[in-house]
């Protein structure tokens, strides 16, 4: 653990060195988790496969670390990074991906439907744009109950072309809800280049036209992400309404595990990986500024590896849920026989 103090040194205002260590550790954990899970998916261990978020770690951790634990994050189909950043236990997440009884949701959710409300993850979501709607509602609930909770709703560049997203943005704007609208623009929706299907100059400009302060943020720089989200959260808590943040980021892997990629060049991927990798950049920042030592980096990597290995063992060994429970807990409304049908 480093001894210099980033807070005093002003490296990242408002964050202690210990916190900066944790930020990096979270990013590395996500990286290792996703690399591992992707491999497991390719080997058929994850029913239905998954959407890896490798390359997008800074967005998730930068957001989560700028929030309070009781703040809400609602994710997308590509959201393991959000779940882990919100401190869901990697073992329980992986077990959920496997469909095991010990998963975060007992195997009922799966990769696209992870949730832990106590930890503020209000669901990752299989429907493009839908997570933002849940966050919108969470912000409305906070506003009606007069708490000072903030909600973050995530969606991608592809989601920016769904109508629902703009209904959500408008409602948040006119009601000045404590919402952060967070677009992870990773340039592609499945195989479709965002620029080929997205009219206008930028997604952020659309949001501005709906009356919400909006900006683009370098999503590969966790310090920038954190700064933007913290400012937005402060505005929200002060009653000054929602903010739109468009994070420019990149997914290194295909849309889903095993996807054959022909819609972008290897060059493009290499460019992002080598010059803008969020883990590398933040590692370099912290070591160059003396916040972390090379040994810290090693320890972080080792810890991540150990945690993920343990998660794999846990997921592999965990029991399957009981099939006879499959139709339970659909609704508390029941008819005279007590059956919900």
């Amino acid at each position: 653990m480093p001894t210099t103090n980033g807070l005093d040194a002003g490296l990242v205002p408002g964050a202690t060195d210990a916190e900066l260590y944790d930020w990096l550790a979270d990013m590395v954990l996500i990286r290792v988790f996703e690399e591992t899970a992707d491999g497991l998916a390719l080997r058929g261990r994850i029913p239905g496969g998954m959407h890896p978020a490798i390359g997008q770690e800074a967005v998730a951790v930068g957001i989560a670390r700028a929030l309070r634990a009781d703040d809400v994050v609602a994710g997308t189909h590509r959201s393991h990074h959000h779940a882990l950043a919100k401190q869901l236990p990697p073992a329980a997440v992986l077990a959920e991906l496997y469909g095991k009884a010990t998963g975060t949701n007992g195997g009922r959710g799966g990769s696209m439907h992870l949730a832990d409300f106590d930890l503020g993850l209000w669901g990752t979501n299989g429907i493009v744009g839908a997570g933002l709607g849940i966050a919108l509602g969470a912000a409305l609930g906070a506003s009606v109950r007069c708490t000072d909770q903030v909600a973050v709703g995530l969606f991608g560049d592809g989601g920016a072309n769904t109508g629902r997203v703009w209904e959500f943005v408008n409602l948040a704007a006119i009601w000045r809800l404590p919402l952060i609208v967070a677009c992870e623009n990773n340039l592609y929706a499945v195989e479709t280049a965002s620029k080929s299907v997205t009219g206008g100059n930028s997604i952020a400009e659309r949001a501005a036209a709906f009356g919400m302060p909006a900006q683009q943020v370098d999503g590969q720089d966790i310090v920038e992400v954190h700064r933007a989200v913290r400012a937005a959260a402060d505005r929200a808590r002060a009653g000054d309404g929602p903010t739109f943040l468009e994070f420019l980021t990149y997914r290194y892997k295909g849309h889903n595990s095993g996807e054959v990629i022909r819609y972008r060049t290897e060059d493009e991927v290499t460019q992002w990986r080598t010059s803008r990798d969020p883990v590398e950049r933040f590692s370099a920042l912290l070591t160059n500024s003396g916040v972390l030592t090379p040994e810290d980096l090693t320890r972080i990597a080792d810890d991540a590896r150990a945690v993920v290995d343990a998660a794999v063992a846990f997921a592999e060994e965990s029991p399957w849920p009981d099939p006879s429970t499959a139709a339970e807990n659909v609704s508390a409304w029941s008819n005279r026989d007590g059956s919900v049908r």
Partner: protein
């Protein structure tokens, strides 16, 4: 049915003011209940269903929205998860098309996927009346076929008030349909704590010869037919389902075991409509008690036209109910046409 809580002569309201009353009492009781919808604060909704509540509860709790059905339901879902009890007023049920993912893929599934209740009420004016094809969709079967949703469709003020109260004290999503043609119907209503349980049908009219199973405006049609048939000595039992999901199987089955003859009356389109479920439920549970096949009397499988005579031409009417019940009451064994 819940004959124990049947109306005693009490406060009288309309179908619409019964909703207002139920809402007002529940909003007084529970500060987390609020309403959102278009034109509700001042106008009180297009059917006056929340008239007067704006002034009483203010803009925070009677919230006017833009025309954004997806955002309305989504914000209701998220707010319900965050410690409040939203009532999303969709105005016409037809506008739910714009919020189907929010209703079906989110609200209805969250308890199942994530173990969290979503205490959301979606209120909508429903049923067939004037307004043409796009404002007269009968989505009852769709919503019944959606695991995770309760679907209520009361026929009289007492049940409107009692059911909205139950909905607002429960924990899971309820779609609350109110029939256009019943808006001004008058009748007694219960007190602040007289609830009508969701999932309970009622015997609207006792009778021993033929059971007519229906809901919403169908109860009025069935009752008129029953009155006429009583003059011919045919005693018709009318069951008002009140709740379409979950179905009160026990009440239906017990009734049909008594009469052995049943007609399901429904104004939804025929193919795969609610009437099919009800008929099949009877076959599942009371096949050997059926003296005759269950008769479905539904709307034609058609969109709803604008012109009143065309609307009438599509919908089952009192005369058709009378004819069908009479045939059913008098039938003995297979008729020639039905076995040919």
């Amino acid at each position: 049915m819940s004959s124990a809580t049947e109306p005693r002569p009490k406060a009288v309201a309309t179908y619409s003011t019964a909703f207002q009353e139920g809402m007002r009492e529940e909003m007084d009781r529970d500060p987390t209940v609020f309403v959102l919808g278009t034109d509700i604060y001042d106008r009180g909704g297009h059917f006056s269903q929340v008239k007067g509540l704006g002034e009483r509860f203010g803009h925070e709790r009677i919230r006017d929205t833009p025309i954004s059905e997806a955002a309305m339901v989504a914000s209701g879902v998220g707010a319900a998860l965050n410690g409040t009890r939203p009532v999303v007023d969709l105005n016409f049920l037809d506008f739910a098309f714009g919020a189907m993912d929010e209703l079906v893929n989110q609200a209805a599934k969250i308890r199942y996927m994530w173990g969290r209740p979503v205490p959301l009420v979606v209120r909508a004016t429903a049923g067939v009346a004037q307004g043409g094809a796009q404002h007269n969709n009968s989505l009852q079967a769709w919503l019944m076929n959606t695991p995770g949703l309760a679907v209520v469709f009361p026929s009289r003020p007492w049940d409107v008030k009692g059911l909205i109260k139950s909905a607002l004290r429960g924990s899971d999503p309820v779609v609350f349909m109110m029939h256009k043609l019943l808006t001004g119907a008058r009748g007694p209503v219960g007190g602040p704590d007289e609830l009508v349980p969701i999932g309970s049908a009622r015997i609207a009219r006792p009778g021993s010869d033929v059971t007519v199973i229906t809901y919403g405006y169908g109860v009025v049609v069935a009752d008129d037919a029953a009155t006429a048939l009583a003059g011919e000595g045919i005693q018709v039992e009318v069951i008002d389902l009140r709740t379409l999901a979950p179905l009160d199987v026990t009440t239906l089955v017990e009734a049909v075991k008594r009469t052995g003859r049943a007609l399901v009356l429904d104004e939804a389109p025929a193919l795969s409509g609610p009437a099919a479920e009800i008929a099949t439920t009877l076959s599942d549970h009371a096949f050997w008690y059926l003296d005759q096949p269950v008769v479905r009397l539904t709307a034609a499988h058609s969109p709803i036209p604008h012109s009143p005579p065309l609307v009438d031409g599509l919908l089952p009417n009192v005369g058709q109910v009378i004819d069908a019940v009479r045939r059913l009451a008098l039938a003995r064994g297979p008729s020639q046409s039905s076995v040919s």
